[in-house]
């Protein structure tokens, strides 16, 4: 029995287990997404989050301990945001042709998305912090997470994943 406990202590201290679980859940989710004919409701982010959240709840592992390992995947959001410059540069000729229309519609559409989300949540009587977390929803998730307080931002990826397809 002491052997099992030692293994558990090792797994809890190293990032290996959380990282492996995250990648396994992601691969399973991607496979499921393909099996479902890439249906938007079988969103891989949603499935992977559900698998891992269920695993944490079932095993009693604290989210903070899981995140201590999974933060290495989380960290890549920063470089990935910077990397968006590459496709933007690739498409720049196209983007420039319609720059005014693109910028104006993205700004107006983004403002509309924020207002619509907040208005619906307010009308249905959601808690203020929930309502506030809906405002930056239309910004891409890495940006929204920088804008939002961490506590509310943690909700966003899941909700966003639910409906962004």
């Amino acid at each position: 029995m002491s052997g099992l406990a030692e293994i558990w202590v090792y797994l809890a201290q190293e990032p290996l287990a959380a990282l492996t679980a995250t990648l396994l859940a992601w691969l399973a989710a991607v496979r499921l997404h393909h099996w479902c004919g890439r249906h938007p409701l079988a969103n891989p982010v949603l499935i992977a989050v559900a698998l891992l959240a269920g695993g944490l709840l079932a095993s009693g592992v604290a989210y903070r301990d899981y995140f201590a390992g999974a933060q290495f995947v989380h960290f890549l959001l920063g470089p990935a945001t910077v990397a968006l410059a590459v496709p933007l540069h690739r498409q720049f000729a196209l983007v420039r042709q319609s720059a005014v229309a693109a910028v104006a519609s993205v700004v107006l559409g983004g403002a509309f998305a924020a207002a619509a989300g907040v208005a619906i949540a307010l009308a249905l009587g959601a808690a203020p912090e929930v309502t506030a977390s809906l405002a930056p929803r239309s910004v891409t998730t890495p940006v929204a997470m920088g804008l939002n307080a961490l506590a509310t931002a943690l909700l966003l990826p899941l909700l966003w994943a639910l409906f962004a397809g």
Partner: protein, 115 residues
């Protein structure tokens, strides 16, 4: 691959430093993206193939990067249980309405430019 990762991290680091030094309300990685974009423009040619491959590799698996934060939903289950109805409606209806509104605005602006 290593030069590409170094370039991405350098831009992100410069972005974080700039955001803090100037007190900008913009996340550091976003400033880093602008920096990299300007550098690519100044270069005047296609992005180096290594950088292109690394960027595509990261962006093709973007969903994976949201998973650790998404699992944080376990910290907010009581809140979700309480406000699930307004949340789902705001996200679903709000997103559909925003897609429609953005598309309409873009169509109108593009048509006016052509016409």
């Amino acid at each position: 691959m290593i030069p590409a990762i170094t370039a991405l991290l350098t831009c992100q680091l410069a972005g974080e430093v700039l955001a803090r030094a100037l007190g900008l309300p913009v996340p550091g990685p976003v400033i880093g993206m602008v920096l990299l974009f300007v550098l690519l423009l100044l270069r005047g040619r296609e992005a180096p193939t290594g950088l292109g491959a690394t960027a595509d590799g990261l962006l093709n698996n973007l969903g994976l990067l949201f998973v650790p934060a998404g699992v944080g939903v376990v910290l907010h289950l009581p809140l979700l249980a309480r406000d699930w109805a307004p949340l789902s409606l705001a996200v679903l209806a709000g997103t559909l309405a925003a897609i429609a509104a953005t598309g309409r605005i873009a169509q109108a602006l593009l048509r006016r430019r052509q016409g």
